[in-house]
């Protein structure tokens, strides 16, 4: 499988004018191409006005462009209608909206919320708090020995008491892509509200909600070449009908009297206040950019880099990979530790080689407890990464090993 034309792609990203930068932290946030930066700057300079207010042309055209991005997102996800697309601040906000606007009103004591043992805090803490508010129980699909989910107890976990099943589309620590089809089918069978945290998945793989089998999907623009401050909640129309707004104010109402108010239609009722309009334009440009390169091509590129990296890292003495060591059902996220070198020490040494990796608990502390490490270093790949980036990582790791006297 040929790799992407990274020379052309890197030329689109001003940050890579620094030739010495080996950016391997896209799982935290991706870099931004010129196309996105310029689209936002141009809109802010020449096209900007608040939306949904306009008696004047500039506001009308800003509203049209904002809503055109909603259409673009709907097409990008394979949604049946643009009304299924809610703009939110990011994946975290989308999950919190579902937990408060659906879960708080519908869960009863002893109902069950099911997540996996490899969730990001964003898809864990909102459910912990929902369980505390409602008396529902939070339970976990366990991680197996191979760093993949153990589905052997799924029948017991997902039954008629299960009201919510929220699962990551791809682990931000292990890279593991769970068998979503099996889990979502089990949720569907018992009528549970099924939610996919697509923060890692959507920027890296083709995702089509018409065949995904979930009730809702969230993702953030900033991990997909887009700006911070905007993300998407997609949900089935019947689920959005069940969802109550949790933020009130301008733009989300239909009529307001002194003591009462009625809600605007879906999806506007979930978008109180002036939305991130410039960021929405950036998200639209990011989708154009990613679609031009092709999501399957990006996924294949990730896979090839992962294969290359697993091979190369496998040859580094004292290096331990925390995650699947093959490319089957796995994305371009590789966590590792090296002998007794603390990941922060590793990251500092790697940084001196221009290699940017994340070190820490990756907002997944319960998972790291299972892995029995306080922290890991993590390299993650995206469409602009090359095998040279991985070679630089390996060389820097050997240097770290020598400095610490472990190799």
């Amino acid at each position: 499988m040929p790799l992407l034309d990274t020379t052309a792609i890197r030329a689109d990203f001003p940050v890579f004018e620094d030739r010495g930068l080996h950016f391997l932290d896209s799982a935290a946030s991706s870099q931004k191409p010129r196309q996105v930066i310029e689209a936002m700057a141009d809109f802010a300079a020449h096209g900007y006005a608040n939306v949904n207010r306009g008696a004047y042309r500039l506001s009308v055209s800003a509203t049209e462009r904002y809503e055109a991005v909603r259409d673009k997102v709907a097409a990008f996800l394979g949604a049946g209608s643009s009304d299924e697309i809610v703009f939110v601040r990011g994946a975290t906000t989308g999950i919190n909206l579902l937990a408060h606007g659906w879960g708080s009103l519908r869960l009863r004591p002893d109902d069950r919320i099911v997540v996996t043992e490899m969730e990001h805090h964003a898809n864990l803490v909102p459910w912990q708090m929902l369980a505390r508010r409602t008396g529902a129980r939070l339970e976990f699909i366990p991680l197996g020995e191979d760093h993949r989910l153990d589905l052997s107890g799924l029948d017991r976990l997902i039954d008629e008491d299960t009201k919510i099943v929220a699962v990551t589309g791809m682990s931000n620590v292990l890279g593991t892509i769970p068998p979503l089809d099996v889990i979502l089918a089990a949720a569907r069978e018992v009528g549970a509200f099924s939610i996919v945290d697509g923060a890692q998945l959507v920027p890296h793989q083709p995702v089509d909600v018409s065949t995904l089998g979930a009730d809702a999907l969230v993702f953030s623009a900033h991990k997909m070449c887009g700006p911070t401050g905007i993300g998407v909640l997609w949900a089935r129309p019947e689920r959005l009908e069940e969802l109550e707004p949790i933020e009130y104010g301008g733009d989300m109402i239909s009529t307001v009297t002194r003591y009462t108010a009625t809600w605007a239609p879906i999806p506007q009722r979930f978008e109180a206040g002036t939305p991130p309009i410039i960021e929405a334009i950036g998200l639209g440009a990011a989708i154009d950019y990613v679609e031009k390169i092709g999501r399957q091509a990006i996924a294949d590129h990730d896979t090839e880099l992962t294969r290359y990296a697993l091979d190369a890292l496998g040859d580094v003495p004292e290096l331990r990979i925390h995650g699947p060591v093959d490319t089957e059902s796995r994305g371009g996220v590789i966590s590792f530790t090296m002998a007794d070198i603390h990941p922060h020490d590793l990251a500092t040494i790697l940084d001196q080689h221009g290699v940017a990796v994340r070190a820490g608990h990756h907002c997944a502390k319960p998972l790291l407890e299972i892995l029995e490490v306080p922290a890991t270093a993590r390299a993650s790949f995206y469409l602009y990464n090359t095998t040279e980036d991985i070679d630089a990582l390996v060389e820097a790791l050997r240097d770290a090993g020598e400095i610490f006297g472990v190799i």
Partner: protein, 149 residues
Amino acid sequence: MALEELYRDVILDHYRNPRHRQPLEAPDRRAEGVNPLCGDEVTVELKMDGDRVVDVAVHGQGCSISQSSGSMMSEAIKGKTRAEIEAIAAKFHSMMTAEDETAAGLDPSRPGAVLGDLEALQGVRRYPVRIKCAALPWTTLEEALGPAG
């Protein structure tokens, strides 16, 4: 300063063989410090005789900078009075924030003459995000000692 110097033998020695790591049986003062950003943890326990630290334990888990800093600190403060410890802490603080060795109050011709092993940590000031790691045991010590008087 090169990385080799940052992670010079002194730091690695204290990281791999931390001093005064054994928890005290009945400490008079105790404080726990944590850096929520990176998860480094340090516990400081003190046995006091008046305002003198007669025994000390520093234990925890984290990177080589935070853990070696705690180990070096334990050696530097054992047997010292509060006033002496505050003077050492002030020198350590200025070493971590100063422009260079001389400004830091160190003597470049005699390494270790002013702050002993702790001087090995001066390279950390080139890595701003790591200064917090080096400072963690000291802020925890401050909490354990509590307000003077």
